[in-house]
């Protein structure tokens, strides 16, 4: 099996010993990984200076599959861990790839503070509307009325609008794409990797085995067809109005600007202080 993947032109970005990956047929995680390594290849990024950090969840395995320095943290904590890495060595490009529950339920606090501080880490969120790894429980992005194993009578919670949350918290780049928009996703990831400040991409991803099956979309194809029908590309529209409904998924870039990053301010202040201490 590992010989097979080595024939693929992007195989140098993948850890051959760990392939093939554990993700289900039609799972969007593989597409996200694919778009990510496409972006790395197109940018010819120095992958000795790239660190991928992931949390717990199916998408959390992505750190193990990329052939770079990588770390798989405890649930919810990849952003806090990535903060430590980035501040310790700002020359490293630190990318957090994790899931909707990991980043926004248990990890919600770390997300908003890292965005607020504008730590120069990049976050890619695979939003599949549930906790897939543990069998399909409700999560902070599960749509209202959806069926999951812990909402067998229909979800009564309103989901987060992640692009609105990221924008409000202060992210300098916010985009949302689905796994169908692979080319735009790759383009966004390239932009993400070239930004200085805290950047975020939400990727709407199919979970056909679990979320799809419980919610009348039995296969990956049916979920992708839903994305195709419902998505509308509207760049730089108001993120507050971009809630996801069964009829409408607004995709595109929402925010793109620069402001001084935490590590820029930190290191410049440190330089001032050290100069004063010596002088």
């Amino acid at each position: 099996m590992t010989e097979a993947v080595e024939q693929h032109p992007l195989s140098k970005y993948l850890r051959a010993a760990m392939m093939p990956h554990i993700w289900c047929a039609g799972c969007g995680n593989g597409i996200i990984l694919n778009a990510f390594v496409h972006a790395l290849d197109e940018l010819q990024i120095d992958f000795n200076k790239l660190v991928v950090v992931s949390g717990i969840g199916c998408i959390g395995r992505a750190a193990g599959y990329t052939n770079v320095d990588s770390f798989h943290t405890t649930h919810g904590r990849p952003i806090a861990f990535a903060t430590g890495v980035k501040l310790a060595n700002p020359k490293l490009e630190v990318v957090v790839i994790s899931g909707d529950g990991d980043l926004f339920a248990i990890g919600g606090n770390h997300f908003i503070h890292a965005a607020r501080r504008n730590i120069g880490i990049k976050v890619i969120c695979a939003n599949n509307f549930n906790y897939g790894m543990t069998g399909g429980q409700v999560g902070p992005t599960t749509p209202l009325d959806a069926l999951t194993t812990t909402t067998p009578y229909g979800n009564i919670e309103h989901p987060f609008n992640l692009v609105h949350l990221a924008t409000a918290a202060g992210a300098t780049y916010v985009a949302r794409w689905t796994t169908l928009h692979v080319r735009m996703l790759t383009m966004s990831i390239k932009k993400l990797l070239q930004k200085k400040g805290f950047s975020f991409i939400e990727v709407i991803s199919p979970c056909p085995e679990i979320y799809g099956r419980y919610n009348k979309m039995q296969t990956g194809l049916e979920m992708m067809e839903w994305f195709k029908k419902a998505s509308v590309i509207a760049n730089f529209s108001d993120p507050a109005k971009a809630e996801i409904t069964p009829e409408r998924i607004i995709v595109g870039e929402f925010v793109d600007f620069e402001k001084p990053t935490y590590e820029e301010l930190l290191y410049s202040k440190m330089a001032q202080i050290m100069k004063k201490a010596e002088g």
């Binding site: 099996m1 097979a4 993947v5 024939q7 693929h8 032109p9 992007l10 195989s11 993948l14 392939m19 093939p20 990956h21 993700w23 289900c24 047929a25 039609g26 799972c27 969007g28 995680n29 593989g30 597409i31 990984l33 694919n34 778009a35 496409h38 796994t179 169908l180 692979v182 080319r183 790759t186 296969t219 990956g220 194809l221 992708m224």
Partner: protein, 92 residues
Amino acid sequence: MPEKFWRTPLDIEKISKFKAEIHILKDQCKGCGFCIQYCPKKVLEESDEINARGVHPPRVVDEKNCILCSFCTAVCPDFAIFVKEKQCKDGC
């Protein structure tokens, strides 16, 4: 390049049509069907054979129709398909 031209380009002798080679890593495929569904030229279809995973990998209907858009390469979750431009001398 299209089969029929509404006006023949002046350098048609010099420019040769590219040819694609579609590589399918059959045993990597999990049968999601994305490549088949979203190929703009309908170059792929589900084959009858069963791979090591017990699913039907895609097979190429007619490689000549492939326009090398590489959407299949980009959308495959399993790194099971990729297209390359066929490198060949004249008269390919």
